[in-house]
Amino acid sequence: MRVVLTGAGICSAAGHNFAEVAAFLGGNSSPFEPSDAFGLPGYAVCPAAPPDADGLGADEVAARLRAWRRRACVQRGGRFALAAALRAVSHAGFSPSCPLPPETPVLAALGPMLDAAGEPGLFPLQQADAHSVGEPADDAAPGLAALWLLRWLPNTACAALNQLLGLHGEALTVNAACASATQALGLAFRRIATGEAERLLVMAGDSRLSAHGLLGYAKARALCRRDAAAASRGPRPFALDGDGFAPGEGGAAFVLESLAAARARGALILAEVLGYGASCDGGSLTAPDPSGRYAEAAVRAALKQATLTPDAIDWIAAHGTGTPLNDPVEAALLARLFGNGPAVLALKSWLGHTSAACGALELACVLACREAGYMPPIRDAVSFLRSDVRFVRTAAPFPGPVGLVESFGFGGQNAALVLRLGDPKE
């Protein structure tokens, strides 16, 4: 079966629909801010909203989620995913009068909950709070909400989406670090390609913007340090002086379906998914394999499934975090496989690193850019790591439709998706 994308939804610092995202990526205002407001100063972050705001946007979907009584059961990143998913469903042409069929499965790419300080009563667990034998369990940590755990369980947002949309198909939450969204899209693609499902909803969302979320990556020396005055200079993917990533947050979602199903209901087709590949370095738990050979295997597998050679690729949405560990390995891979052919985008220079959501959110940005007809440059980079890769240095017209999304995560999680943008009949 041929597989197409028929709906996209976005909830991000770049905007909440294609028009807003395209305007943002065509402008030159910096989305990066000092991390102070999120509880750990000294870094640049890319928030979708201030810590006390929900960042859901201003449309009907945002209003619906704000009126939904269980919204506090879902952590911040999960709420971005929900907003994006409701938008994708509506963008795909489904509505209360023509709902998504209830058997539609949902694949959710969600990050871990790290916001320990945002859970009043959880830490520190005092000796006096601890439950001792014979006391009712309610006496432990009295300030803590009864269902605080829901914010920490990975599947809550996925369950919530099924409740909101009245879906009863398989609901599966995927976590593969920063490759999560791309792997969820890849799994959805495979299920439709093999005829296992006619249509799937993929949603992704994440936020690590909390004191403990930032602390995790700060301790691992993965973040770009910026004092408050310099924080508007974000990360510098593929630059010689790349010094770490800047955490972002947001969500994106897609409806995927078989070309036949999409044609049968006269759906607008955004792109065709042509191939998917994934691998694991099986080496370091954090740093990528320095040879990049397993990442390359994932990219080659995606190309092979698409029956394309590297010279057919027009654009690449690279993983490009800005870290000295990822970027040289990825840049070398790009030079080896593609040389100076495709235009290489590094959207984390605009969005920050949206972790589990990045592959989906960056794909949504690519679709928005193509609709607007241009490609954004890699922000803030002056000197690039290599001259034998065509990094997008200044805004340029959008090239041909065939491209590659790469996501490489902690744990050596590698995923690659090959797509042709637009309706296949174009």
Partner: protein
């Protein structure tokens, strides 16, 4: 010691918080399940909040009238007056309220009868006991 009015206003706020309503929307006669769309998870949240905010032990079976129908069936089977069983278990409710509960619970297919005022009465009695 808190007056019953002060207890009610705090219970009202807790219930309003949990159900995402304005406190003015919550009256003593507001039914937790039928009017507010409550589910068991909401009762759990209420119990935890009562315990934390008032520092009282919360017996969920009692405060949420969970055993009401069982008590009535048991007392009927034993040939006792329902009022006696309800007075033993829910001494903090007024006799009028207990009578209403016994009458309503006799009808099948009625949503659980718990009202916001029942919860406040439970809390007020627990607070009184603590002095």
């Amino acid at each position: 010691m808190e007056t019953e009015q002060a207890v009610w206003s705090r219970v009202q706020t807790i219930i309003a918080d949990i159900f995402d309503r304005d406190p003015e929307d919550i009256a003593p006669g507001t039914r937790i399940m039928a009017d507010l769309g409550g589910e068991s998870v909401d009762l759990l949240e209420i119990a935890v909040r009562l315990n934390a905010d008032f520092g009282i032990p919360v017996d969920e079976d009692t405060v949420f009238l969970k055993s009401l129908r069982y008590l009535l069936a048991e007392s009927r089977a034993a040939g006792r007056q329902p009022e006696v069983a309800l007075r033993e278990t829910y001494p903090y409710l007024t006799p009028e309220r207990r009578e209403t509960l016994a009458r309503e619970a006799a009808q099948p297919q009625v949503m659980p009868l718990l009202c916001a005022g029942d919860i406040a009465a439970y809390v007020a009695a627990a607070v009184r006991r603590q002095g």
